[in-house]
């Protein structure tokens, strides 16, 4: 089967729990995204360097509590139009302030299921302007 070089809709999911990652992978696949999943910070950073990310869902705890926030900030800096969400233990003034000050779009609590998170993100994306990630420099769309 010929490989498609058309731009894909890429969703990055960073979470320490494999079962949660699998659920997000399935939910994003069913929504037409190419899910890129990472359990650790180095893999997540590698993904950021390799893929044009449209959506990122990042756990506020990757190795230790709070280390997901700066990663989410990095994704925001690298992909200004992307939808960046963090999964946190709670939505308190503290976590909402962290989301605002890192330029993020949304916070979801741990208790919210991946399907609900993905549905929510899709509905918010439909309300915003379309996103057009540029293909990697070495890849040219087939005419």
């Amino acid at each position: 089967m010929a490989r498609s070089f058309l731009p894909q809709r890429v969703a990055l999911v960073v979470h320490p729990d494999v079962a949660t990652l699998s659920a997000y992978q399935l939910a994003f696949s069913q929504a037409g995204f190419t899910p890129i999943i990472a359990r650790e910070l180095p893999m997540a950073l590698l993904a950021v360097t390799q893929h044009p990310i449209e959506v990122a869902v990042i756990s506020s705890k990757i190795a230790e509590e709070g280390d997901g926030w700066p990663l989410a900030g990095v994704v925001r800096q690298a992909f200004a139009p992307a939808f960046v969400a963090v999964i946190a233990r709670e939505t308190s003034v503290h976590t909402l302030q962290a989301a605002i000050n890192n330029g993020l779009n949304e916070i979801y609590e741990n208790s919210v299921t991946p399907n609900v998170v993905v549905d929510s993100i899709l509905s918010k994306l439909r309300l915003s302007a379309p996103y057009s990630p540029k293909p990697p420099r070495s890849v040219h769309p087939v005419q």
Partner: protein
Amino acid sequence: MKQPSLMIVDDEVNVTRTLQLIFERDGYRVTPAYSCAEALALLGNGSKKMDAVITDLNMEREDIGFEVARAARKLLPAPVVVICTGYANPVNSRLALDLRVDYLALKPVDVDELRAALVRLLARRTASRKREVS
């Protein structure tokens, strides 16, 4: 480089004047407003193009500062919007996130953090506008 313009909105005159002194010393052109109504009048008549707006939340009434944030968001180019409040709660913090406010500072404000955040946000805004043009 041109001086960035900054509107400071707070009904506590001492807070507004103190922030005005600090930011003017940093090289900003500061326009103070002592109520939401005054800020909306200044923003609404287009006489003041702002690079950034720092607003209190509770002035004439609770959370009315969001009206300043909303008015600022409608301007083109949109200024950086910072909310400073001593009465943050999950409801108004959630509203600030939904409004895409750029920075939420809790009173008592750490002035050095606020200054650094404003520099960073203005640099990001300039870079973003350059990308849009190119």
